[in-house]
Amino acid sequence: MGYKARFRVWRGDDADGDLHDYTVEVNEGEVVLDVIHRLQATQAPDLAVRWNCKAGKCGSCSAEINGRPRLLCMTRMSTFTEAEIVTVTPMRTFPVIRDLVTDVSYNYQKAREVPAFRPPEDLAPGEYRMQQIDVQRSQEFRKCIECFLCQNTCHVVRDHEDNKTNFSGPRFLMRIAELDMHPLDTHDNRAQEAKEDHGLGFCNITKCCTEVCPEHIKITDNALIPLKERVADRSYDPLMRLFRKPKK
């Protein structure tokens, strides 16, 4: 059932570039990344793209397909008609290095600004006891494969470059929520820090981040909103109970 598909792929760097047209073979069951690889092997050997696992596990192959932020390896060609032109462009929010490869260092900087897990001092390794029900919430956030599609999508940085300094983005606000909900983390005040140091206030809960998350993590509902509520009113918030650390 192979057919020839029409592809438009963005070629170039941050300074300059444009969409190139290609006609390329597509076979049954293939994903967009397969087609990009076929282009590399046959027509464009220097076409730059990131990938590793080809199974939606590493978060390397993020790009925009027909304008929608997606993983190249998890987008099946069968989602397009044979006549449709498939346009592949790099993530828009980050500077382009070359072709589909972008400079995602913003995310690594933000990761570094979140204070690390602070382990309990009175427990030796091996003595940690946590109930499944208590780790489950943070586990949902730890499914994150750091594809940065949510970071790419959130309008706070997508439309306002200068917000990058003050706003850590959904991925790293979620990281703060994750640590806040960790049953044994002893760093206090994470919610307050989210507001003061990481720009939680910029988020106006549009849920666009949640929509593009390939791991289907409920970023807004399960991480951002609870974090906001906790900042809004630490003492009266019924959700406080969710977050309360076991006191010794």
Partner: protein
């Protein structure tokens, strides 16, 4: 003089998977300035793909477990070819390494009493694999990554610079190691982004580069797995052992073609999934080898009881070590009892309720749904063997991970010995942490022992390295110009067809002839474009490593005239006790490799005593058995 960026470190770790990151954490914690260099972004190394779990005898689910039992399982899995000291250290230290991850913030699935939950896996006598659903590798790498960040935060607080003591050089590929006399003096690399060169001056280099699977056509491995570390070690004068042992995981996806080879975790079987052929038969009952007869159930009723009552029943044969299961699937397919796309059926849908499947195997559920239109809660998967892991690697000192070249260390998949002829599932992630830490400590101790007498880099070596790196851009030469992608595809086909899961002497010889030709052709590879993020150029460089390492695999596979673990010779089907005492050692020679045999170090007496005499009889020579203190029962 070549124009390049220069950095000086105490230790350079090549690789940011589990092994490399744990090594870097150790070296930095021991006070050394440490660099981590990796080909992908930070946090994307192959380890991220590991699914099933990490093996450690914590005894949380079955308190009978202990390091001794884990050691025994590991030796059995490797058919007693393992370096026993490595297997011993691994079994003893794995629990501490897992618990340590919790102090970095890892959140494993829990038991009812709040401890780390453990699951069953092939070849492990008790539930032993700590896990997070089926995304354990992600948890492992993220925890280590976050620990590195936390060390950088400490350094920032103290020095004002996050990267003052520990820096990650991501998307940077090392192409050569440099030496001063016989000692390591540094590493030469290029930035993938710009193509510019980088020189690391360092008295100690830790190789943690992972495996070689990209030399095979059907593989669960990513583009990173081109055997760089194996080749760097060879070219620097170190030796590799056990290169004939390549693990084919029994369950890779077989359809659609574009995902062929992608892994289906063994947890599917650990959690109750069964293998059936086109006739609906649970065929694994027909393939229980003599050496495992007393440990595996020979009927479905007993096998099914085992999940709830493991103390009084034998294990289902679906959980035999991987080499056994892979060969069995291969035979069923050959006999024509295959599924529509040339595999067999792996069914969990008739074994567990749908919600339970989604809870325990979320990423498998997702993977099949998205990539193959298969709902694993309703229908069986189609699976077949895929090249997965290389047991062979750099020959190291077990306690320090030191290679025979002073200053060169190796840990993780790139190191050899620990797993013998076949690795048990879950034993890699634990290996990464145990020997990653030891390599970091070994490197630290070595650097301290040097004092101020550090090896120096010779500028002419640097110029040579630079010239070799850009060579693929040079047109000219005599032969026909070659495309790196074409040469790579042919290499993969050759290795898959001729040195794959079942080997025959004549075919391996054919492979060696083909490899010689491919080597010639690789010299004529010409790449287009410039040096910025140019995948064609990157592949041209990686190709040299794949060819060198493939030659090791083929040459060793030809010499070992027996079948054991990840090496099956159809023309020598027997496991031969004399061969258990022999290791095959590869070294660089000219532009190829030489392979020589070497005696295995005899198993230490107290470790030997952990086994029943009747079991040792299956593996050891009569001569060796005669020397044992009499313990016949």
């Amino acid at each position: 003089m070549t124009e390049l960026e220069r950095h000086a470190y105490d230790v350079v770790v090549i690789g940011a998977g589990g092994a490399g990151l744990r090594a870097a954490i150790e070296a930095r914690q021991q006070g050394l300035r440490t660099a981590v260099v990796c080909k992908s972004l930070f946090g994307k190394a192959h380890t991220v793909m590991a699914e099933g779990g990490i093996a450690a005898a914590m005894g949380n689910v079955n308190s009978h477990d202990s390091w001794q039992v884990h050691f025994r399982d590991t030796m059995r899995g490797g058919k007693f070819l393992n370096n026993w000291r490595m297997a011993e250290l691994h079994a003893k230290e794995a629990p501490d390494r897992v618990w340590e991850l919790e102090t970095y913030g890892a959140l494993f699935d829990r038991t009812a009493d709040g401890r780390i939950s453990q699951r069953n896996f092939g070849g492990h006598e008790y539930p032993r694999l700590a896990h997070v659903g089926d995304r354990t590798g992600l948890e492992l790498i993220r925890s280590l990554q976050q620990k590195i960040v936390s060390l950088q935060q400490e350094d920032h607080a103290e020095t004002g610079d996050h990267e003052s003591r520990l820096k990650v050089f991501a998307e940077c590929t090392v192409t050569e190691l440099l030496r001063d006399g016989d000692k390591v003096s540094g590493a030469f690399a290029y930035w993938r982004e710009t193509g510019r060169f980088v020189l690391f001056e360092a008295p100690a280099v830790v190789l943690a580069t992972g495996g070689i699977g990209k030399s095979f056509k059907v593989t669960s491995n990513s583009w990173e797995y081109t055997g760089d570390g194996h080749a760097l070690a060879l070219r620097t004068g170190a030796s590799l052992i056990n290169m004939e042992f390549v693990q084919f995981h029994p369950t890779g996806m077989v359809w659609p073609p574009s995902v062929k080879g992608i892994l289906v975790t063994e947890s599917v079987r650990g959690d109750g999934g069964v293998l059936r052929n086109s006739e609906g038969r649970r065929f694994m009952f027909d393939y229980i080898p003599e050496v495992f007869k007393d440990k595996y159930a020979d009927n479905e009723a007993e096998a099914d009881r085992w999940y709830t009552d493991p103390d009084n029943n034998r294990r289902p044969p679906e959980l035999l070590p991987r080499d056994e299961v892979a060969r069995a699937i291969n035979s069923e397919v050959k006999a024509g009892r295959n599924s529509p796309h040339g595999g067999v059926f792996l069914d969990v849908s008739s074994r567990l309720p749908a919600e339970e499947i989604v809870r325990r195997l979320p990423s498998m559920h997702h993977q099949f749904k998205e990539l193959a239109d298969v709902d694993i809660t309703k229908e069986p998967m189609e699976v077949g063997p895929t090249c997965h892991y290389v047991m062979g690697g750099v020959e190291v000192e077990p306690d320090t991970a030191a290679s025979s070249v002073p200053g060169l260390f190796a840990c993780g998949e790139v190191a050899g010995g620990m797993h013998g002829s076949n690795r048990l599932g879950g034993n890699s992630l634990s290996d990464l942490l145990v020997f990653g830490r030891r390599a970091g400590a070994g490197a630290a101790e070595y650097v301290r022992s040097l004092g101020d007498k550090r090896p120096v880099i010779s500028e002419s070596d640097v110029d040579g390295a630079a010239a070799r790196a850009v060579d693929p851009f040079a047109e000219g030469g005599t032969g026909q110009q070659e495309n790196p992608y074409t040469v790579h595809t042919q290499l993969q086909q050759t290795m898959n067809d001729l040195v794959g899961i079942i080997r025959r002497g004549g075919e391996v010889e054919q492979a060696l002839t083909a490899l010689e030709e491919l080597k010639q052709r690789a010299r004529n590879v010409v790449v287009e474009g410039h040096r910025q993020f140019n995948p064609g150029w990157h592949l041209a460089i990686d190709l040299r490593n794949m060819l060198l390492v493939s030659e090791c695999v083929a040459k060793a596979a030809l010499l070992r005239t027996e079948s054991r673990g990840g090496h099956t010779r159809e023309d020598h089907p027997r496991m031969d006790p004399d061969w258990r005492r022999q290791l095959l050692v590869c070294r660089a020679e000219g532009d190829g490799v030489s392979v020589t045999a070497k005696d295995q170090i005899p198993l230490r007496e107290d470790l030997m005593a952990l086994f029943e005499y009747s079991e040792l009889q299956k593996y050891f020579t009569t001569g060796e058995l005669a020397e044992l203190p009499a313990k016949e029962s």
